[in-house]
Every structure is written in C-alpha cells, then in structure tokens.
C-alpha cells in the first residue's frame, strides 16, 4: 500500500468502492449481457447483490467501531466513519433496497424501463455515502452533486410523460440554483479558515464573534442550499411539482433517501463547523420550521393528487425535523435521527402502496383512484392506513416516537410555544391524511375495479416497510438505543 492509500483508507472507502463497482457493472451488464428487456430483472438481483456486499463492508465498520469506539478517519481526514455516518448508511441501504424491489414492476407497467436506472440508483447511493461520511467541503459538495444529478435524471425518467419532463427540469433548475448558493457559502467558509476540512473550519468559525457579517452571509447561503435540499419552506417550491411528475418509485426514493442524505449533510455542517454560530442559524431554522409546517399543512388540505399531498406532508415533516435541530440538545438530535429513520420507512411505504395502484388504465395518483381500496385489496388499505397514521404521528406507530422526541427536546429546552404549535399542527395534518383514508375506506369506486395482484417483490417491500413502521412504534427500544449510541 502506498502512503496515500493505506489499509484504513481502504477499509473506510470500501462500501463506496463496492457500490461504484456494482454500479458500473450494472451499467455494463445492461449494455452487454442483458440487452433484451425481458432479462432486465436480473439487474435487480445484481443491484441487491451489490447492496449485500456493501452491507457486509458497513457491518465490518460497524463491528470495528463498536469494539474500538470513536471514529475512523481516512484520507487525511477527508472521510470519516463514525456511528453517525453508519446510521445514515444503513438508512440508505434499506431505502435503496426497497426502492429497487418496488421499481421493477412499476417501470414495466409504465412501459418506460431503462436498465440504466439500476446503475443510477447505485450511483446515487454512492453520492449519499460521501454526504454522510465526508468531512471536507469538496467531498461533500461533489458527493451532493453526484446524488443530485442522478436524481435530476431519475425524475425525468418517464420521457414520454410531459409531467415527468417538467418535473425534472424544474427540479434541475432550482436544484442547480441551490447548489450554487451552497457552494458560494462553502467558498466563504474556506475564506474564513483557509482550509476545506470541517474541523479546521470549525476552529476558524469559533474564533469569530457571532455578529460577524461574513459569517452570517456564509450561514445564510449554506442554509438556503440545505433547506432547499430537504424541501423546507421557503425553499420548498420544487417539491410538489417534482414529487408529482416523477415516477412514483423515484418520488419515494427521492423523498426518503435524498432527504435523509441531505439531513446528514445538514447535521454534519451545522453541528460541526457551524456549531459555534448556533445563535446565527437557530432563529432562521426556527422560522423555516414554522413556515414549513404552516405551508405544508395548509397547502396539503386542498390537494387532489395523492403524490402532491404527500409532497406537502413531507414539507411539513421537514419542519418537524428542523425543530429537533432548533432544540439542538442531545435529545433533539436524537429525535432528528429517529424521526429521519421513521420518516424514511413510512414514506417509502406510503408511496409503495401508490405504485401498486399504478396500472395500465390508471396511474393511481389521483386521490379518487384510491376509492374502494378497502374492498379491492384490504391488505393494501390497511397498510396504507398504518403508514398514514404513522405520518400523522398517532401511537402506536413509528411516527409517534419521532414526534415524541421532537416534543421532548423542545420542552426540555424551553421552547414551549414551538412545541404547542407543532402539537396543533399534528391535528391539522390528520385532516388531510384522513382524506386519503376516507377515499380508501368510505368512498365507493365508480367502476368495478379488479382486485390487485401483487408481485413477490412488492409483497416483500410492503412487509418490510410496514414491519418497520409498526415495529419502531410498538417496541422502539432497540432503535432508540441505536440512535443514542450514534450520538455518543
């Protein structure tokens, strides 16, 4: 091993290498080995195999960390593996696996199946790896762009559907703007410290007083970029359009994994180099959180497209997650982590049910398409109910545990009014979630629809997301412990 690629470096980088390797191989396989469309399902297995390999690598890191504690730095501190990073890596693995499983059938039905899709999914996850593990501005930025570019393409994957084209374009334009703002903020951070390593930046930032204007500008532009990525108000405009236009499986993956990855980035930066300027960003985040909950809830009430409705609800969830960061103590960050995990599973689950509805005759996106689902397919209706209850935060589902921690941290830090507002919005949210419930359980379908048949993959994905949503809710102990361990 040469001096600039040590065994530690290899150990840390291995999961990303594997993901990239399998991504390239998937692309090649699509091109050389399985060019015929009916063989495409082998690609799914190939991706899953890649995930298994990556998981083994993650698991070894996990074991190493739990034995030795602390963190592993590689490449002179550019990459770091700690419990925090691993926590998010596991989330990425889980959501990618579920997304892959649910994708095959969906794209077949939409008759827009591209083998490149699977390679791109892995590449996106690769970008996410660097978002969670990167400890250096350039790595973070390029990682973020790798993920974002992949998503621009994935959103536009239904090339014959104008809505998909539009969604991709809008996402791209606003995403590029936000990346520009983010990198502008990064450049100021670099200017303040002369380094791109987060640790050194942290020292430089800490030496400035909190009224420093350049610091403020840096914080503002970086926050603008980050809030954009997690679809928090006032930078949420892209979310409803993009969620609606994108293929539903991509919407699910975008809503779940991309948001989790962006949150990892956000936490890394806010709790790392910018931790000392908390007074600067905390009020901004509190305002953004309130605005997100308000806009998300109010706009969701009138939506007739389920995907749009869930998009606004995800804006609302971004608000709750931000509140955890606003509280900012141990409990709050723990709450953010748990909320993120919970959010990933329930969101994937809810979109999964929507993809199942997608058939030749209907896209399953209009809220009326859910009519009579209870009669057509009780299992789906009940799973969807559980996901919606969880999204609303009703015990004993996982969503409650997430919200509980947010409330706990807010009260612990004395933000009573924020807590009260967040609590009232729980009740508002139930109103539009239960519009979906009403559509499924009460309304009758206009024309008799056949019962839904299920592929094995969908069954597995549904069972997995459902089990997690219920499991975290009923017995949260191991998950809470996991999150606590992450922060130690």
């Amino acid at each position: 091993m040469s001096s600039f690629y040590t065994a530690t470096d290899h150990f840390v980088l291995l999961p990303a290498l594997l993901l990239a390797l399998f991504a390239c191989a998937t692309l090649l396989f699509d091109f050389w080995v399985f060019p015929e469309s009916q063989r495409r399902k082998h690609l799914v297995w190939f991706v899953l195999m890649g995930e298994v390999f990556a998981s083994v690598a993650y698991f070894r890191q996990h074991m190493f960390l739990s034995q030795h504690g602390g963190e592993l730095q590689a490449f002179g501190g550019s990459l770091v593996v700690d419990q925090f990073a691993l926590y998010f890596h596991w989330i990425f693995v889980a959501s990618t696996v579920i997304a892959v499983i649910m994708s095959y059938k969906y794209f077949e039905v939409r008759d827009e199946h591209h083998g490149e899709y699977y390679g791109l999914l892995l590449l996106a996850q690769c970008g996410m790896y660097f978002l969670a593990s990167g400890n250096e501005l350039v790595v973070l930025f390029v990682g973020l762009e790798t993920m974002a570019l992949t998503f621009y393409v994935l959103v536009g994957l239904l090339k014959r559907d104008q809505r998909s084209n539009e969604a991709a374009l809008k996402y791209f334009l606003l995403g590029a703007l936000s990346s520009g703002l983010l990198v502008y903020g990064f450049s100021l951070l670099y200017g303040m410290s002369g380094s791109t390593k987060l640790r050194e930046i942290g020292a430089a930032v800490a030496s400035r007083d909190s009224g420093d204007t350049v610091l403020f500008l840096a914080v503002a532009t970086i926050l603008a970029g980050l809030l954009f990525k997690i679809a928090a108000a006032p930078f949420h405009m892209w979310a409803p359009d993009t969620y609606e236009g994108a293929p539903t499986v991509v919407t699910a993956y975008l809503a779940a994994a991309s948001k989790a990855a962006s949150l990892a980035l956000m936490l890394r930066i806010l709790l790392g180099p910018l931790a000392s300027s908390r007074d600067v960003w905390m009020p901004i985040l509190a305002g953004a959180a309130l605005l997100s909950m308000t806009i998300g809830n109010i706009a969701a009430v009138t939506q007739t497209n389920t995907k749009r409705l869930l998009a606004y609800s995800s804006i609302n969830h971004a608000g709750y997650i931000l509140l955890g960061i606003v509280a900012g103590n141990q409990t709050g960050i723990q709450g953010v982590l748990i909320y993120t995990m919970v959010y990933v599973f329930m969101t994937l689950g809810a979109f999964l049910v929507l993809t199942v509805l997608c058939r030749d005759t209907t896209t399953g996106e209009d809220i009326n398409d859910l009519h009579g689902l209870m009669r057509r397919s009780p299992a789906h209706a009940i799973w969807m109910l559980i996901f919606l209850l969880s999204l609303a935060g009703i015990p004993p589902t996982a969503g409650f545990i997430g919200k509980y921690f947010i409330f706990l941290s807010l009260i612990e830090t004395g933000h009573y009014w924020l807590a009260a507002a967040a609590a009232v919005y729980v009740a508002v949210a139930i109103y539009y979630y239960f519009r979906i419930v009403k559509s499924m359980f009460v309304d009758k379908e206009e024309t008799e629809m056949p019962a839904l048949s299920l592929s094995l993959g969908t069954r597995v994905a549904l069972a997995a997301t459902g089990a997690m949503t219920l499991g975290i809710g009923i017995y949260p102990e191991p998950f809470v412990k996991f999150a606590q361990q992450t922060l130690r």
């Binding site: 990459l79 791109l120 970008g127 390029v142 790798t146 393409v153």
Partner: protein
Amino acid sequence: MLDTMFFYMFALLAVGGAILTITMRSAVHCAVSLIASLAGVAGLYLLQKAEFLFAVQIVLYIGGIMVLFLFVIMLVNLDSAAKERQFHRRWIGGGVAAGLAGASVLWLLSKGAHSFGSPAAQAAPSQDGNIEQLADLLFREYLVPFELASLLLLVAIVGSVLMAKKRTS
C-alpha cells in the same frame, strides 16, 4: 498599477458580460455574453497567479460548457423563443428582491471584509511550481473527490445520454 488596471478591465468584462447574459433577447447572444464574462473571470484568475485555473476556465468552461450550450441552442432552435416576451410577469418583483438582497450582501461584506486579516505568514508558492504543487495537492489531499468526480462525470454521461436519446423501440 498595471495589475489594478487589468483588474478593472477584467472585472468590467465579467460583470458587463454577466449583465448582458441575463438581458439579451437572443439566446445565442446571451451565450456569447456569458463567454465574455467567463473570459473576464479567467483573466482575473491569471491576475492572481492561478494559471492552471485560467487554462481550465478557457478550455473547459468556454471551450466545453459554452459549446455545449450553443450546440443545444442550435438543436432546439430558439428563434421563435427570441421573439417572445423575455421576462416573467413577476420580473419586477424578482429583480427588486434580488437587487435588495444584493445590496444587503454587499453591505454585509463591506462591513465584514476587514475580518480577513493580513495574509498568513506563509512561504509564497514559487511562481513556476504552481501547477506542480496543485497536482501534488490534487492527487494526495484531494484523491477522494478526484475519484468521486469520475463518478459524477459517469452520472453526467449516462444521464444525458438517457435523457437525450430517442426512444428506439
């Protein structure tokens, strides 16, 4: 003194080109203005002894990206677009908001700029070794992002092909 003059020259080119970019009617003209602006920025790099960046800016940005833009402009035939209204109906609001934001940002920076103290007492990089040092840094310290950039470009290639190719079946 010469440096100062050159700075103002290039800065004028950069800002003027930028303003023209967002105001010109025809997309081709916009692209040409953007090239001018980028060239101005490239000149600024040269002024600051960032020769490699200067080269990259010219070759990659002006040579690569802008050609891509021009290519697409030709491909999608924007002639009709040039005849239409160029600005949003809400452009005044947007412009004013952005202008205000810019003014406040300028003010912020002018207040805070003093905080960048004197340059660190560090050995100035030898003039001729700039690119060597850069390469050294790039392949040692920035090995990870360098490799990651290859993935980024892979995504770009696959993605743009996927997006732009015609459906065959």
